[in-house]
């Protein structure tokens, strides 16, 4: 297994969201999502419009800016002809996203007589479509996509040199941008110079992936598990489904199933293949099968989508929708050419998701709440509350061992790592169950007196001066008669640490209002540690 990734060719159509909505290329146009520019035309860029700007700012810079809403389905549809060109060279092309596709270079280069011929051929054919596109070749899909931006063919084995000058944000790992910038690492070249183990130690799995990419390698070490079990999942539609909604709905469930299967096997997939079977293949055109083959009518639509373990099930379902709409356009075109053979409204009989290029799943983080992941709405609410009350205001409780009720429950700010599981160690001097319901953050002062009204004292050898008879709570002014009590129980903690040493004598008491108390004497003063109510 070579360390250098396979040669890859990438086709990159600049400003694809803008092109796909049909904006005039010579006017300033922008595509926005939630009032933020996600793509803009060349003319708009010349006037200072940038991705990530707010629409208001963009319009101030370019007063004539035409604003379009994003239409991802249109982007996928408009990309179909480009993919048609790639399909002429290899069936194993993959779609990273509409506007960016890649294909493995080795086989086509051998077959068509060299990389240059393939590049030229693809560039010409796409040019005929009237689509502006860059074609790049490099080692690995990531580098090829960057090369496509400048229409470059990177010589084999020199990809790392080519990548060195690119700024870190091209990795599209936003969580790394700022920490790396603070370390003075602004380019991929500088990132590649860092020792791999240091990057792994500081940034975890994301850092390893970034470091590998920066060195011109694949994000994940190549370790295909082809011999492993078949992880394909599929849904059969009987009767055949028509209308994309039902299929997309099923695709979402199927993608959930796929992710569960992958997680169970401890693997991630780099790509996912979506295979859609139509009725035409089953029965409808059995007589015209030869003609159908000749016309290239797809009875099965097969396409690879880049996954990298990053696509949610909704995102996979969305890709199924795109593939379906592209396929239907193709079918419609065929049906107008050969109306008899190809009814455009054929049903879908089967949908399969095939994980492609399996790698061991690395750096999969368990959720904050363990395997039972908190639903999104909980995380959203927690983040919103943090925004309102401060980062430490929202806490998650956990049970932990300890001698005092305060130690037994810990609160961890949301987003921090929870403490280790409850220590099974015995806690001598811990009180037996039941635990108190009211555990103030810091003990409250109290006054305990005997029958004559004199303060009750506890000697160093745990002798009580007189039975406690009355509890006064200065905080509330309550004076309560003590009906029953027990103690003192000594508690000595951290006696080896002069500043933090705690030496307490503890009592439980029941007062005439029905409450029970956990009281303590420390340095001659009475405290309320907790209330049982």
């Amino acid at each position: 297994m070579s360390a250098v990734p396979d040669r890859a060719l990438a086709v990159w159509c600049p400003d694809w969201p803008v092109v796909a909505v049909g904006a005039d290329p010579d006017t300033a146009a922008a595509v926005v999502v939630k009032n933020v520019v996600v793509a803009c035309s060349f003319a708009a860029r010349a006037e200072g419009v940038r991705r990530g700007q707010r629409v208001r700012d963009a319009q101030r810079l370019a007063p004539g800016l035409v604003v379009h809403a994003r239409d991802e389905a249109a982007e996928a549809r408009a990309f179909e002809p480009v993919l048609g060109v790639l399909a002429e060279y290899t069936p194993r092309f993959e779609v990273v996203r509409p506007g960016l596709a890649a294909l493995p270079m080795d086989a086509p280069a051998r077959y068509f007589g060299g990389e240059d011929l393939v590049v030229r051929g693809i560039r010409d054919r796409i040019g005929e479509l009237g689509v502006g596109a860059g074609v790049g070749v490099a080692d690995g899909v990531f580098a090829a996509a960057l090369a496509a931006r400048s229409d470059t063919r990177v010589v084999a084995g020199r990809t790392a040199e080519f990548l060195a000058a690119f700024p870190v944000p091209v990795l599209e790992l936003p969580e790394l941008d700022e920490p790396l910038a603070r370390l003075g690492v602004r380019t991929l070249g500088r990132l590649a110079e860092l020792p791999a183990d240091a990057v792994a130690g500081r940034f975890g799995a994301a850092g390893v992936a970034a470091h590998r990419l920066a060195r011109g390698l694949d994000a994940r070490p190549p370790a295909p598990l082809r011999q492993g079990p078949d992880l394909t999942v599929e849904t059969v539609f009987d009767p055949p489904a028509d209308g994309s909604e039902r299929i997309v709905f099923a695709a979402k469930a199927l993608a959930d199933e796929l992710h569960a299967v992958l997680a169970q096997s401890g693997v991630a997939c780099v790509r996912v293949a979506v295979e859609i079977h139509g009725t035409a293949g089953a029965a409808g055109v059995s007589g015209a099968a030869g003609a159908a083959g000749a016309a290239g009518a797809p009875e099965v639509s097969y396409r690879l989508w880049r996954h990298e373990g990053l696509l949610s099930s909704t995102a996979v379902a969305e890709r199924v929708r795109w593939q379906l709409s592209g396929w239907q356009i193709q079918l419609q075109r065929n049906s107008t050419e050969h109306p008899a053979d190809h009814p455009a409204d054929q049903g879908i009989t089967r949908l399969r998701l095939i994980p492609d290029h399996l790698t061991p799943a690395l750096g999969v983080q368990p959720g904050l709440w363990g395997a039972d992941e908190a639903p999104d709405r909980i995380a959203r609410a927690a983040e919103r509350l943090q925004a309102m009350y401060g980062p430490n205001a929202v806490t998650l409780p956990a049970d932990r061992g300890g001698r005092t009720p305060l130690d037994q429950g810990v609160r961890t700010p949301y987003g921090d790592l929870p403490p280790d599981r409850a220590e099974a160690a015995p806690w001598p001097a811990a009180l037996p169950a039941p635990a108190p319901a009211d555990v103030p953050r810091r003990p409250r002062p109290a006054v305990v007196t005997d029958r004559t009204g004199a303060p009750v004292a506890v000697s160093g050898r745990l002798l009580v001066s007189a039975p406690p008879a009355e509890l006064t709570v200065p905080g509330t002014g309550e004076r309560l008669r003590i009906l029953a009590w027990a103690g003192p129980w000594p508690l000595a903690e951290r006696w080896w640490e002069p500043g933090a040493a705690v030496r307490r004598a503890r009592f439980q008491a029941v007062t005439d209002d029905g409450r029970a108390w956990l009281l303590a004497v420390q340095d001659g003063a009475w405290l309320i540690e907790a209330v049982y109510d």
Binding site: A381, P397, G409, W485
Partner: protein
């Protein structure tokens, strides 16, 4: 939403209903920073049944006590000190969790009652939640309070707390209007909530014996100068 088995008898229908307000009245409150065992038990039961719980304004929340009642602590989200903006925290949580346990710093205003009431209602657009109030809430659907409570386990300088027998009285609006009561161990010697069965209650001696057997530490004996001192008192 489910409640702890021992509490099912007292709640109307045996469950906590989304959109409902359940007020747990305190008898006495030292600082108003913690829920009573009763409020704790309601939240614990809901979380054990898979519900998410938000806790607002209760920095004294007894985590170990909740866990002893069977709470699934992994389903709690706490905002301990929201200060005067407690109602906003309730509003945010009501959109996400299933039960919001809150202790308003003072009697809530009509505006708060109206807005939070609208927020917890189950509609086509929102999932709805149960509001558990530790304290007063005007117009609560269900009101719970303790009418009796007796701790056991402590004597004059001996023993330790082993449980509390209480009588819970429930009333409320509509179907919940009829007042009913239940006798419970809240908490029992192991920290859980149990029904206080009438037979055992009939003869305190029996209850005491069960206790003694159920908790080894109680019947411990200390030999003091040849004399046996039994650390037990009814």
């Amino acid at each position: 939403m489910p409640a702890l088995p021992a509490l099912r008898a007292v709640l109307p229908g045996g469950v906590l209903r989304r959109g409902g307000v359940v007020a747990v009245q305190d008898r006495v409150r030292a600082w108003g920073e913690a829920p009573s065992y009763l409020a704790l038990a309601l939240a614990a039961g809901a979380s054990a049944g898979g519900a998410w719980c938000g806790v607002v304004g209760l920095p004294g929340f007894g985590i170990a006590a909740a866990s002893g009642m069977g709470a699934d602590l992994g389903r709690f989200l706490m905002v301990d000190e929201p200060g005067e903006r407690w109602a906003e925290a309730v509003n945010v949580l009501a959109g996400a969790v299933d039960v919001v346990l809150v202790r308003p710093p003072r009697r809530p205003s009509g505006e708060h009652v109206r807005r939070i009431g609208a927020r917890i209602r189950r509609t086509a657009r929102q999932r709805g939640a149960v509001l558990l109030v530790a304290g007063e809430w005007p117009g609560a659907d269900v009101r719970l309070r303790l009418t009796e409570s007796v701790w056991s386990g402590l004597g004059a300088g001996t023993g330790h707390l082993t449980g509390r027998r209480v009588t819970v009285a429930v009333d409320g609006r509509g179907a919940a209007g009829r007042e009913r009561t239940a006798r419970l161990w809240l908490p029992a010697a192991d920290g859980a909530v149990r029904e206080w069965v009438a037979e055992t209650a009939g003869s305190t001696g029996t209850a005491g014996t069960t206790d003694r057997q159920g908790f080894g530490g109680i019947s411990a004996e200390i030999r003091d100068g040849g004399e046996v001192v039994r650390l037990w008192s009814a």
